[in-house]
Symmetry: C2
């Protein structure tokens, strides 16, 4: 019988999951061509405005396939609801029978994105990180910081926020967390560029925020916010000057994300771009010294959804 798993049950399971390891295995399988991920389905609505994405796929040797429905309905907050909604379905890859329905309301997408950020930091952050820079103050900004804490010794975080309300929201979200770095806030993006060794960008900006001229050598940037053909948080020159430019998906980088923008601007040659999964296996293709500047552009791939859904159902199985 199919198991229906509520958001509350998922929340209880999440702290026990080693999601960074799951993301690592997923990106490696993906880069080796061992993952079937057809193009996502899409429904667009105008009144009220909303978009629905259906991502699905299967890892070659797995015994499940996964379908994720994720939507953004941007007037939901007026109704007291989160904009992001969604669920994940896990089916047997041998019989087609549904095994689990994860009513995560988009939570697993948020978490798997943050777990990928942690994985990237583990492999690309310079050996010393005194201060983590976070660009943006939304849900993903907070989750990225939380997931980065176990990966570095940083005792400070500097968060670029647009206004006081965003700063307050961010501070409040961290009030109940155990291991919290000292939080600093700034409205000046240059300060983040100049003072942080590890920067994660998480905004839906459509114009570049970080500038190449402001960055110090040796900085690592994980770009998470841009996942469409128009969103862009990094000046293309940042990618031009970087020693290493990495993407989670070469295919997606042809239409979306920072690499797409930089190639389109003529700032970089597509042939320089390396797959994340490749670096995870061949460490020599990644950061080899603290002077290197690195950029990892994450647009999000369905293998992450597959991996987190599997982690949840395996944890369920062991608690059942």
């Amino acid at each position: 019988m199919v198991r229906v798993v509520t958001r509350e049950e998922i929340e209880r399971l999440l702290p026990g999951l080693d999601l960074v390891e799951r993301m690592q295995d997923g990106f490696i399988a993906y880069s080796k061509g061992q993952v079937v991920v057809p193009p996502p389905g899409e429904l667009l609505f105008s009144d009220p405005p909303g978009d629905v994405h259906i991502k699905y796929g299967c890892i070659d040797q797995d015994d499940v396939y996964v379908i994720k429905v994720a939507s953004g309905f941007y007037r939901n907050p007026e109704l007291g609801l989160a904009s992001s909604q969604g669920l994940m379905l896990v089916f047997s890859r041998r019989t087609g029978q549904p095994r689990a329905i994860l009513l995560d309301e988009g939570r697993l997408t948020d978490v798997r994105t943050a777990a990928a950020g942690a994985l990237v930091a583990r492999h690309f952050a310079p050996s010393t990180v005194d201060r983590i820079g976070i660009v943006g103050a939304g849900t993903q900004a907070r989750l990225q910081l939380l997931h980065l804490l176990p990966e570095t010794d940083a005792c400070e975080a500097l968060i670029w926020v647009r206004n006081n309300a965003a700063e307050r929201g961010f501070r409040e979200a961290f009030e109940h967390e155990d291991r919290v770095p000292t939080l600093h806030f700034t409205r000046d993006i240059r300060e983040v560029a100049q003072r942080c060794e590890l920067i994660v960008t998480t905004t839906p900006s459509e114009t570049p925020l970080l500038r190449a001229a402001d960055l110090r050598p040796g900085t690592h940037i994980t770009a998470v916010g841009s996942d469409t053909p128009i969103k862009c948080e990094l000046e293309p020159e940042i990618l031009a000057r970087a020693d290493i430019v990495v993407v989670d998906s070469l295919a997606q980088s042809e239409h979306r994300g920072e690499v797409y923008q930089a190639v389109r601007a003529g700032a970089i040659d597509r042939r320089r771009v390396v797959k994340l999964g490749h670096v995870l296996v061949n460490h020599a293709a990644g950061r080899t010294d603290d002077g290197q500047t690195t950029v990892v552009d994450l647009t999000g791939v369905a293998v992450q959804d597959i991996q987190i859904a599997k982690a949840v159902i395996e944890a369920l199985g062991s608690t059942a």
Copy 2:
């Protein structure tokens, strides 16, 4: 909160639904361009062999959108499971929140296909049908006959079966039905062609079964079995000689079904083909006299899934 509806609950609700009316409304909306139905998603597996189809869409003025996952895993019977598996998801089109998960195991697809057959018979069968012809003896063959009974006065049905086991299975399925016509069985497809005024074909055949030379003028044929680029139950000449050729989906008829086969064989001109929804509004485009031979080619469209899912959740709402 999302409602999870079991197969048993769905079975209890089905007899109370007017699905023929729902299909009619759906096909009309579809033919008027009022339905958003993106291309289906697909996953194909080889070991064990299985295919998964993800169909989804929305009718313009509706407050829900629907996603259907339907799979065929052809070795399931070895495990005592049905080959067809699946479920339907109903979401709010205003907020993206899931409203209902219908764990129908493919049952609603079977039923909506049969309800479309009934709708077609209502509009295309000649005024007198003494004998219904059914080509095939599987689940869809039985459902088509059941759904045709209220649409005609026929007291007999003639079923083309390949072997005794198929005949036995068909007979047994009708043992507990209330209003059953006299069932006759034949291994000779010509007998169906020559003796039935209303014929429904339901097999996965890849070579034509019914021949034009065997058919009587005035016959109506609903072709249900062929829904891929290679399946084909009707000799193309049948469509060439037919007075009216109708499809549920013009778009799909460009790649699959009987019309696809007949156009490819050069037997008919695509411009002769009429949309089902058009005929349902403009009766003059349909059968206007009992001498006409008509063919309706159904490959199945997502609007049918949307319509049956809505019927189920509305019935649930009224019983809650």
